[in-house]
Amino acid sequence: MIYEYAGLSQIAGPLVVLEDVRDPSFEETAVIKVNDGTERHGRIIKIDGNSVTLQIFEGTRGISTNNTLTSFTGKPMDLPLSPEIIGRIFNGLGNPIDGMGAVFPLCRRDINGAPINPVRRVYPRNYIKTGISSIDSLATLIRGQKLPIFSGSGMKHNELAAQIVRQASVTDDGNFAVVFAAMGVKNDVADYFRRSFEESNVMNKVVMFLNLSNDPIIERIITPRCALTAAEYLAYDLGMNVLVVLTDMTSYAEALREFSSSKGEIPGRKGFPGYLYSDLASIYERAGIIEGSKGSVTQIPILTMPNDDITHPIPDLTGYITEGQIVLDRSLDSTGIYPPVSILPSLSRLMKDGIGAEYTREDHSALANQLFSSYAKVQDAKALASVIGEDELSPDDKMILAFGREFEKHFLNQGYTENRSIEDTLNLGWDLLSMLPRRLLDRVDGETLNKYHKENKENQTS
């Protein structure tokens, strides 16, 4: 028997309180009929005796304490799923907004997912070629990895993400899908992604979940969970390789903060709730490969660092959960280098097991180590040059500085549509390292150097 409860006892921001509810269960969803003819949806977030607190996804505007009829569905929020979701556009709650009608569900899944037992996971090893030198060689993306892009407002993270999606080799065998979740981004940004998917002819492989910046924040908290539920269905039920792009995690975390403070919780650092880490982990940890399934879920979350501050709680906690990060740098960006990947703080934790002779080339790891080490020296030389002037530098430092300039200009910098093969990228790396004499290359063993280092007379004399 379904009860309908008339009226509410309290309304506070996105939250409403009902008294005397029979047998409520945590996270149960509810439908609220307002007497203006609209229907809203809510979810139980607190039960205190018979009093129940609901969060309303669509917001509480226009609701009064006595113009509603509330009924409970008896189950937690779930998402209707079937292979037809590919190519569709949904709002942040998983309702279609492309005017093509509802999805006929083959199954329904709880949007909160379930943690994967590490024993059931398969350790990711297959590398994904993105065609972008800085990523392929120095922060290699692996199938089943979560690799966020740390960016700032105004930098070219959207272009970079779109380029990765376009060129990623997961798209090679056709059995792939892209799940795109927009959280609190501007309409233009969502539109940019839609256009770039259309231009690269993958739109019929994309599932979009859009929660734009003027959509309700409660819906924003649900959006990534809907997207990942869809991704898990495609990957583990249908065996597809799924690339999930989540943008922008900063808006997501801010929505969580707004929601937390309206619940009256004790705030932690910068006003974010103390459980921000666990909450972010419940999203990021849903990447991976499961034993016995052909598919994989690879995540590329994008976040804009407030004030470019990498120690801000959002990038900081994200970095502790994800398997590395790609950090964009404003000074590179302002000198016109695209993609402005700052390689020293960038890292891919799964890279060491996904590169080498079996996957890319045997010299990859040595080359990457040497590039990192030499580029770190470039920073020291730059700092010294800014104090004593470039002319006063030792010949070694001058050589290193020249290497740094060429590295940024030719290795980091590449076109929006330039798709470099891994061979090209590695060879380019060796060409650049050949600007430095062998004695300055201390991370590579002699044999590899003999094979790849092209030391010529010109370099020795300079």
């Binding site: 994967i116 996971r121 459980y275 940890e285 990060q325």
Partner: protein, 476 residues
């Protein structure tokens, strides 16, 4: 545990034996390298009045009955229960006198930890906390490793599982999983379980310690555990102290770290628990409460450095911020077991590094060219120490584990070259001529060139250094 699985049990107690608490009464070969000894639970003692015969038993089968002094009978099974937040009793604490040998040069030589000690490994993300912990779990010379993945990545636990079953323990020739207990609470698992996972780990460590084993517990990461405390405390609406952490954070941390130590057990055997806790400070800021409080209760501090990690200098342990208070206690052991000059060499290497840091401040302002040759030599030697000695490649089969004696011989080579060169420089030989010999570069790569089982090569390095330097002296 599977309650249906049968274990091959060998009963060691016989009828009318008087058993005290902690005494062994049966043995089970748990894995080929670990013999599981069943003990009378603490608080119980009495006379054996019945025992089953040797054979295969399930976890909850009674195999022995004892009668205590009040005449009550207690059946003993293959398992015992213990509340995880209460430390298991031991008869007394022993002084710490032996190092936990890890095969990692910077740890064994510069900042060693004693068996039974506690260490903190703080570092921002990407500085290599997990790799350091994995290296320790793989190579340290404890009998039992407890690895607690506390609020960390699922893929990392999978990697640990896969890797540990492939690597063979050099001492037993068996896969590492035979001596390892993994406790997995990944970051998306429930918070309440995360709060408990650390205690579960240390209780298991104590249980094996009571059997007379040396155990080492790696907790990755205690910050996640502290955050779980904070989250639970927040939900209980307790008054927060620093940064929202509950006011009882320091006392909980000290309770945990004090469970480490070297013990004489109730049954007279000796065992130890070494605790190595990773700390993930927010924004890599070591002044936050978890790092600060952990520092108070551990005597070994291995500070991971972002700048070193960015330059891919691994292990990214900063050699000026880190410290170990155990070195003094262990000095005698090193002198006796490794070499008389070990402590001396270690101190000299350390002094050179400190000296280099001071010189680098000057170099940053005016460049290296203006320094006199003797100071340039310090910078050159320190480079060899940093790149050739401190840096260690976890993925290289030779370099991933280095025996202590090779560490000592490497130090001898570096110091011989340094002191020899210093003598030449005081005789007005320019440094450029000495570096042109290529000796510095050869020492930088000796970690790869000299195999672990043929360290005698390093002795020939010494004579070669002497020969080449003497030859140079003659020509000038």
């Amino acid at each position: 545990m599977d309650e249906e699985k049968e274990w091959e049990t060998l009963i060691t107690a016989s009828l009318s034996d008087l058993l005290k608490e902690g005494d062994f009464y049966a043995e089970i070969p748990e894995t080929p390298v670990v013999t599981h000894r069943l003990m009378v639970p603490p608080g119980l003692s009495g006379e054996v009045i019945w025992s089953a015969s040797n054979g295969r038993y399930k976890l909850n089968d009674s195999i022995l009955k004892i009668r205590d002094k009040d005449g009550r009978e207690h059946p003993l099974t293959l398992c015992q229960r213990w509340p995880i937040k209460t430390p298991r009793p031991a008869s007394k604490r022993l002084p710490l006198s032996r190092p936990l040998i890890t095969g990692q040069r910077i740890l064994d030589t510069l900042y060693p930890i004693a068996k039974g000690g506690a260490a903190a490994v703080p570092g921002g993300f990407g500085t290599g906390k997990t790799v350091t912990q994995h290296q320790l779990a793989k190579w340290c010379d404890a009998d039992i490793i407890i690895y607690v993945g506390c609020g960390e990545r699922g893929n990392e636990m999978t990697q640990a599982l896969a890797e540990f079953s492939q690597i063979t323990d050099p001492r037993t020739g068996r896969p590492l999983t035979d001596r390892t207990v993994l406790i997995a609470n990944t970051s998306n698992m429930p918070v309440a379980a995360r709060e408990a996972s650390i205690y579960t780990g240390i209780t298991i460590a104590e249980y094996y310690r009571d059997m007379g084993y040396h155990t080492a517990l790696m907790a990755d990461s205690t910050s996640r555990w502290a955050e779980a405390l904070r989250e639970i405390s927040g939900r209980l609406e307790e008054m927060p102290a620093e940064e929202g952490f509950p006011a009882y954070l320091p006392s909980r941390l000290s309770e945990f770290y004090e469970r480490a130590g070297s013990f004489k057990n109730l049954n007279g055997s000796e065992g130890s628990i070494t605790v190595i806790g990773a700390v993930s400070p927010q924004g890599a800021d070591f002044s936050e409460p978890v790092t600060q409080n952990t520092k108070r209760f551990t005597r070994c501090f291995w500070a991971l450095d972002k700048a070193l990690a960015y330059a891919r200098h691994y292990p990214a342990i900063n050699w000026t911020d880190s410290y170990s208070e155990y070195f003094g206690d262990l000095a005698d052991w090193y002198r006796k077991e490794v070499g008389n000059d070990f402590v001396h060499c270690r101190n000299e290497i350390h002094t050179l590094l400190v000296e280099e840091k001071r010189l680098m401040e000057i170099v940053k302002l005016i460049g290296a060219d203006v320094l006199p040759d003797d100071q340039k030599l310090i910078i050159e030697t320190a480079r060899v120490i940093r790149v050739g000695f401190l840096q260690q490649n976890a993925t290289d089969p030779t370099d991933t584990y280095v025996p202590l004696i090779k560490q000592l011989k490497m130090m001898r080579c570096i110091l011989r070259l340094h002191n020899g060169s210093a003598e030449l420089i005081s005789n007005k030989v320019p440094l450029s001529k000495i570096t042109a010999l290529g000796l510095f570069d050869r020492l930088t790569s000796m970690k790869y060139d000299v195999p672990n089982d043929n360290q005698e090569i390093l002795d020939t390095y010494l004579t070669q250094i002497d020969k080449e330097l003497a030859a140079l002296k003659k020509t000038v």
